[in-house]
Symmetry: C2
Subunit: 555 residues, 2 copies
């Protein structure tokens, strides 16, 4: 990953110069989207160019700059426009709307790239002495406002602390299945290096290519294969965190009853305790075999019952992913756009309709990884359960196609914003006994709110992608034709409506995206007054001046 | 469970009138023990009788008593000698030595039995107003000094808050596999009631009959089947905690990224945040089949390698228990004491010796629970792994015998103390790459320290009983002939020596017993100064006057 960040978009997702690939299907696709939301055509809304961007002047005191130069080397203290613009926001909807419009009220006064844990401590101490906020920044892929360059009351400025120079695997313990890795390592480099030892972390969030180990832990992330490999809070064995009061570290025990488990306070701390500098994580031998395959269910309810049976029966799968009716419809239409439907295909569709697999039918993708024997057993057991729930096996093609394109979707968001289309995701989790209820209520709230804008229709779809014995996640994707100038108001109205449903009907405000600035208003309800008091007291114990990532997680 | 506690021993383990059953093998057993530790015979050391016990006078202010009576009913505020003696200590070595000698410097000034969460809050508020410490007490089975009736500096007295009137299953959600249960429910009643719905928590610590749900969570306990069902910190889905500042509660999400997971702060809080009043826990359908069987390995190392393979290959076992050489020898001798060894048996033993299964051979017990199919598959896969590690299958008899007597051993401790024999356990965990090292070093430290007393030999044995992908627990049991009057000094010397080895060689101070008062000296090293600052700040946030269980977990 290029350190000067020029290889990445400063105002959108991923690699500079790379867009969502539609090829010769581009026009047909956008016509389909326009029709879905009840518009005749879509207008182009171009983002502001870097040279037109007006950044606030850097407030970094000269003395602080000198101390930072001394601490990490002058070449690692950056305040050029590209670096400051790149690090102003993360990749949330609010972030993208604002940066595309050039709305920047607070940019980092400097971006600092420390080289190791000791340098991180020094940078934090310098910031503390000069009353500067410190925003930890790995890949910057937060979609909930987790890395916005905010400062707290009374703070003189803000330093963004970029961890990506700390990008080495320090140790692989092949006996204990652990690896100790620096926090600023991006997903691809991390997996490439682990695989040289024959191991894998297998944490594959959609952001995998553009997010780092430290961010995965700080935001309690979950990868697409979390059913098999666990979410970050499960696979983190120990961590080191540079705080304003010094280093907080946990030890690498497989389990301990020596008081509360501080790993679970570090996971989800979102930079408010300090900067995770490295972590020891649980790894697995590289799987001998991977099998990803699809099944078609008559309804979300039948599919969801099957997911529940798969996890409660402890079939050892790495992934269980069930799209609801609208999402199944969307992806199936997307796959067909611009293609001639053959007569055979039309006949097959008619037969499916007659068999009850028409409107509302849902695709489930199952992934199994491990030894050939494990995969064979798991696939057989899972297939039996799916058939028992009335599913039609679709073979490995839908699984392989999904696997191939699994990191591409975030690029589509930029293309949609460029056409005046808002698109956002919202993920939650709830118990099995509440999942149908919550799915229906959130879907309805999203649709109703969007339609209340009177500006066209909505796209609202969802999937279950992480499941547990006691319940599952629900991941909603929704799109709407934005009213120019009112994009953030519309977004806010949607968040408020959905947040109310989550609070009143037993859903968490986030299953794996985190809190950031976006979810602050719902945190107090969810954690309760005393829960928040505990979290706040814990942060104050290591950061008495509250310079660490202000405006995120807490008020 | 009798509420007036008269059905239980006030100064030892378990049911009043029940002792460890040796039958007609009693003399032979004690002769064997005496020989093992190099004594000709063992002397009787009787505990003090209740009527001879001198309890400090109750310091409960009259006004506080009146308020407590009003809050929970006068019949639930007890200060008779039996209740106060019963609740003075838990069941740690130090506790038992002191209560048997009649050494009581601080007894509860009252024992209060609230009936619900609201009453718990009122009791705590009354205590706070009168500057009284509150010691939460469920089964009182802590073996690390977790329930001793201590008060903090400046506190006027101490109330022990007994939770056992809160003993109902409130809800079973058979769709989501969760149950909501009051914290004061003992193991047997809890399982009996869950089984009526067809479900089980399957948390079976050795203390199962005499410990409660709240205690299991507060001390981060692990049951004997934790490989299959998880330890308390894993199966707790949410909890309610009555604190001096009001109710702290978490919500029942299967997973959430909305900040740190406070369940992991409640689990292991040992009463320092407040009193757990109820919890929602993950349950499983009652297993259709249980299979417990034994294998014999040539050495602890071979057995330990097999345990590692069993967990890292994710064979779905409920229990993997590997005794080291001395423990295998102890139990095998114990089983044979007072029995004629047949000629066939002697020939078999000789054959085992010749095959390399003599001194140092280790028994492993494997448990599998679930559907008949799951048990068959797991047992076959596990057997294959054991055979690959050179084991001899011993069939189901050793497994069944262990299962039958799995809650009996704590009774033996009282019988040993009565004969002047110290007996204590010590449990830790470490990574697989360090397990042989730590096993050897702790065993040596225990043996050397005991032998340094110059008072006879030692019994030192260990097993692995909880295993994970990254490492395992080590559970040591050790016995020594105590020097009269110096019992606690000897114990202290052993703890210090073992604690030093754990700290220096990568072992946690507790895998599942907790911290209590006994492990305080090692907490700061293990959690680090900032870790302790966080835990202390978290407690102060809900208990500013620090009345909750003073002297445990923190200084």
């Amino acid at each position: 990953m290029s350190l000067d960040r020029k290889g990445l978009k400063w105002n959108g997702w991923g690699l500079a110069g790379h867009d969502f690939e539609l090829g010769d299907r581009e026009d047909a696709f956008w016509d389909y989207i326009a029709a879905e939301i009840g518009r005749e055509s879509l207008e182009a809304v171009a983002p502001i160019a870097l040279e037109d961007l007006r950044l606030p002047a850097s407030r970094l005191p000269r003395q602080a700059r000198a101390e930072l130069n001394d601490a990490v080397g002058a070449e690692h203290v950056r305040s050029d426009a590209y670096e400051r613009a790149f690090h102003t926001y993360g990749k949330s909807f609010r972030d993208l709307i604002r940066i595309r419009r050039g709305e920047i009220t607070s940019a980092p006064d400097a971006v600092v790239y420390p080289g190791d844990a000791a340098e991180v401590i020094r940078v934090i101490q310098i910031a503390r002495a000069h009353r500067l906020a410190v925003v930890p920044y790995g890949g910057g892929s937060s979609v909930v406002g987790g890395v916005e360059a905010l400062r707290g009351t009374g703070q003189q400025g803000v330093i963004t602390l970029d961890t990506t120079r700390m990008n080495r695997v320090l140790d692989v313990d092949t006996i204990s299945h652990t690896a100790t890795i620096q926090a600023g390592m991006y997903g691809p480099a991390l997996e490439a290096e682990l695989s040289e030892s024959g191991y894998t972390l297998s944490h594959y969030p959609q952001s995998f290519e553009f997010s780092t180990l430290g961010g995965w832990i700080a935001a309690r992330g979950a990868g697409q294969q979390s059913n098999g490999y666990g979410a970050a809070a499960k696979w983190v064995v120990s961590a080191r965190v540079a705080t304003p009061e010094g280093e907080l570290r946990t030890l690498s025990f497989p389990n301990s009853a020596a008081g509360p488990n501080l790993n679970h306070l570090i996971a989800g701390s979102e930079g408010t305790l300090g900067v995770i500098t490295d972590a020891t994580v649980q790894v697995h031998p590289l799987p001998e075999k991977r099998d990803y395959r699809g099944f078609l269910f008559k309804s979300f309810e039948r599919g969801s019952d099957a997911v529940r049976a798969l996890v409660q029966d402890e079939i050892g799968l790495s992934m269980i992913r069930l799209s609801d009716g609208p999402e199944t419809e969307f992806y199936s239409t997307f796959a067909e756009i611009g293609k001639e439907r053959s007569r055979v295909r039309r006949l097959a569709d008619a037969a499916l309709d007659r068999g009850g697999f028409g409107d509302g039918a849902c695709v489930m993708l199952l992934g199994s990884e491990g030894s050939a024997g494990q995969v064979r057993i798991a696939t057989a057991a899972a297939t039996a359960i799916c058939l028992r729930h009335g599913a039609i096996p679709l073979g490995t093609r839908p699984g392989d196609k999904w696997y191939e394109g699994r990191f591409e979707m975030p690029y589509l968001r930029d293309s949609m914003l460029t056409r005046g289309l808002g698109v956002e995701t919202l993920e939650t989790s709830t118990s099995w006994s509440n999942i149908a209820n919550l799915h229906a209520r959130v879907s309805a709230a999203l649709t109703e709110t969007i339609e209340s804008f009177g500006n066209g229709g909505s796209l609202v779809m969802a999937h279950i992608s992480h499941s547990y014995r006691t319940g599952a996640s629900l991941y909603f994707t929704f799109g709407w034709p934005m009213t120019e100038g009112a994009e953030l108001d519309e977004w806010q109205a949607i968040k408020v409506a959905a947040g109310r449903v989550l609070r009143e009907h037993g859903g968490t405000i986030s299953h794996h995206h985190g809190v950031g600035a976006d979810h602050l208003p719902w945190m107090r309800d969810e954690k309760g007054g005393l829960g928040m008091a505990i979290l706040s007291a814990a942060a104050a114990a290591v950061d008495p001046d509250r310079i660490m990532n202000p405006g995120k997680l807490f008020d």
